[in-house]
Assembly symmetry: C2
Homo-oligomer: 485 residues x 2
């Protein structure tokens, strides 16, 4: 599915609207989840909940607005900046590192301000828009959005992670002073990107699901949960190996590709999650960060990447060993004791981008088929991940068909509380099938005249398009089987 | 439960932490949901989802950050302000209307700036802190939190409602140009309260669940869903009647207490929701707003109020007939056509405060009992609303008891995907019971030595404290019955 196709397909089918607010012309980097989109997004988030709770993580919810002190400690105030060059003539701005990289084909990501200005002068770099000279200064543009609490400066969080570290002492009490333990948070984060782009891939407001494992540094290699998964295979690109290797976790640890067992388990868990959503195995790989590329807090980092048609491999879930940087910093800056048994615990993080998973799911599930000379667009979601699990249609709007259909619809809704069942009576059956194909509904149930006397209905399968008759009384059982996948 | 008791009880049991971030001294009006609190909050939100989806509403999710133009149109930039008096001596600030009301026992909520200053001079009002004179100006303090999108001014939304109105044209397409239709949004909203107070009742960051029914003005009194609920009784305090009247909906409409059928249905739906959470009938009433009290957009307003021990009756859900103010304003300011069939639709709103429901649920469920001369604190939640539905305990940490307990725990977890089951092995059984009582867990399951040979376990009921033996194989069925309440 092409980039532009994605935007128009997602808009037309009420997955994603934007840039929002549309009626006011839209603001770059803001999108809404429409009526079908929100159903899918909830399922992606709830799947995260299920898997992480099953693996002994607990959920919390902290404020999004945070006083300045927090971001001083975390390093975000100083380091979470884009360096900007401003044109002296037309005032337009470019991000220095990207611009230099594009012009000179060199990596400028670690350039100091001085080095940037020297490079601009030496290579005589000019404004790409008007060819004017740049001002002789590098502006620091912090990506955090600033606001106020009362009259004091505050920031809207740029990640959930840091806000999940702050209540460490409360976790420690809850888990009765016994490490390791896991906590996660699903919520919004905000970055004032200089150039938001690629629809929901780089937004100014986005949703993260980030799980944090608190574990002593010297326990990371004794992590007992690793035992059950040593023989599982992962598609890894270790920095050392320089290319993709399908290796068992045992092997990856033996070769010292992955820093420790706790991180290996985290990588495996992120894989489990992505696969359970229905992202195909052959579209997933784990890329290890090189030293230069790693964030200031990271000791080892492995991105779960998904191959997209538009942008190639993109980062979707980041798995990081953060050492004990975070708790150390917050202990130092707050003056509070952030240690346990005299040691400051480390953290292993699994940070998923919910919007990116959403994008990948739609892009990877999209199939355009030719059926009897007509194009059929269909999203082949896993049945239980689809926004809508089943749709109930009355064949006609008369002779008690809508009444029976509505009764079946309500019964199914009550029977499947975690699933989404809808009722639709508008347009021909063919039209209704096509609408449901485009949003990936695995089962359509039609109530026709035979239903009235034979007490049976037609179930139509999304992928095979085959229809079969099923007794109304057997519907829950038949759907249960189909939806268990 | 007393105010202070609530805060310490909620903190101790990991429901609510704060003011957050605690380790940095805390910022007024910011709180976190702890590990037990988040479980309960999710259940309150999911109950809203279930009930509103069952009543044909659809969910969406819009950005929280919104360009200035939106709040110009909605009236929030102009009207969402507190008027402030500043002391010339000590610089402290007071909210003018509250201050005058407190000092002179008169309602000052509609005073102009001029009237405020006149009153201060005439009555010689002084700073309550240092007795200094006030500056001769009234400052307007907008409650919206300001931030930036790129370099442009933007605001963090002070309510979800307005952000739900903006995509009206997309809804209209989705519902195939057929009104009425309903849409809801659950999410954060932000208000820079001058004096946040009462724990989670008046926060700077809070969660709303707001449902919007889009309906033509002239259809509001023909709303067909009213038919099934005409005989339902509601505890109403109509402005006309000046006191509480238990009336059927039919009667309330006949007496013209409630403006129209659509609003009456909304009021009933909010009642259904509150009751389904387990708030007792005798603690709920609907108070109609007098004309002077209504927000600038409202044509009729009925607050669902809950009686609390600390603060008396408090507003928890607001039901408003907003006329067609909102779509008209956004049509005018955006220059877009916000009409359907040539008319601008009206809106009936059900606006629930999730944090307030949370507070009321804990406060109303709390019971302190004397059991054998010892205090037992217990939260008597409805079983399916409780944060944790069941806890599984091994009697001892040896002889394969933990293994069997853990197996039962995992089986139950898989059997009840929508519910929360936990495993706890720390401390004596009595201690574990007490912990579960304090967070309102209806069922505790203990695995003992008899369990190994007889394949049965003990189930202990939270409210009666009675224990009974149940075969392991029958556990899902027995719990299903208990948890259906």
């Amino acid at each position: 599915m092409k980039d532009e196709d994605f935007a128009s397909f997602a808009k037309k089918n009420h997955f994603i609207w934007g840039p929002e607010p549309e009626i006011y012309g839209g603001s770059a980097g803001l999108y809404s989840y429409g009526l079908n989109g929100k159903l899918l997004k909830n399922k992606i988030e709830n799947r995260f909940r299920e898997i992480f709770i099953l693996n002994d993580f607990w959920e919390i919810e902290t404020p999004l607005i945070t006083p300045e002190a927090v971001w001083n400690a975390s390093g975000h105030l100083e380091k979470f900046v884009d360096k900007i060059l401003v044109c002296s003539k037309c005032n337009s701005m470019v991000r220095a590192d990207n611009f230099i990289e594009k012009q000179l084909k060199i990596d400028a990501s670690s350039f100091t301000d001085k080095k940037i200005l020297e490079t601009v002068t030496k290579k005589n770099l000019k404004c790409p828009r008007c060819n004017g000279r740049f001002l002789e200064e590098v502006r620091h543009f912090n990506l955090m959005m600033k606001t106020n609490l009362g009259f004091e400066d505050a920031y809207i969080r740029p990640e959930t992670a840091t806000t999940t570290y702050l209540p460490f002492k409360n976790f420690y009490d809850f888990f009765r002073k016994k490490l390791p333990f896991g906590v996660f948070q699903i919520g919004k984060a905000f970055r004032n990107e200089v150039s938001p782009r690629q629809n929901i891939l780089r937004m100014r407001e986005f949703t993260q699901a980030e799980a944090q494992l608190f574990i002593f540094e010297n326990e990371k290699n004794k992590f007992s949960k690793i035992k059950n998964i040593l023989e599982e295979s992962l598609p890894l690109i270790p920095v050392k190996a320089r290319k993709k290797r399908n290796a068992t976790i045992k092997q990856a640890l033996k070769e010292k590709w992955i820093l420790n067992k706790a991180l290996a388990w985290a990588i495996w868990l992120s894989y489990e999650y992505a696969l359970s959503l229905g992202i195909p195995k052959n579209r997933i790989r784990f890329r290890q960060h090189a030293k230069e590329e790693m964030a200031h807090y990271a000791e080892d980092a492995w991105d779960l990447e998904v191959r997209t048609e538009n942008y190639g491999w993109i980062e979707v879930i980041g798995n990081h060993d953060r050492g004990n940087f975070d708790l150390k910093q917050h202990g130092k800056f707050s003056g509070q004791n952030m240690s346990a048994e005299g040691k400051v615990p480390g953290i292993v993080e699994i940070a998923a981008g919910i919007d990116r998973l959403f994008f990948c799911l739609i892009e990877n599930s999209y199939v355009s088929e030719n059926v009897n000379g007509r194009k059929r667009a269909v999203l082949k979601f896993k049945p239980k991940v689809a926004p809508i699990q089943a749709a109930v249609f009355p064949l006609q709007l008369k002779d008690k068909l809508p009444e029976l259909a509505r009764k079946i619809y309500l019964d199914l809704k009550n029977f499947f509380p975690g699933f989404t069942i809808i009722y639709d009576e508008a347009g021909s059956i063919g039209k209704r099938y096509r609408r449901m194909d485009e949003v990936g509904t695995p089962f359509c149930i039609t109530i026709d005249y035979d239903s009235l006397k034979d007490k049976d209905v037609t179930i139509r399968d999304r992928d095979s398009m085959k229809q079969k008759r099923v007794k109304i009384i057997d519907l829950p059982a038949v759907l249960s089987v189909g939806l268990s996948k």
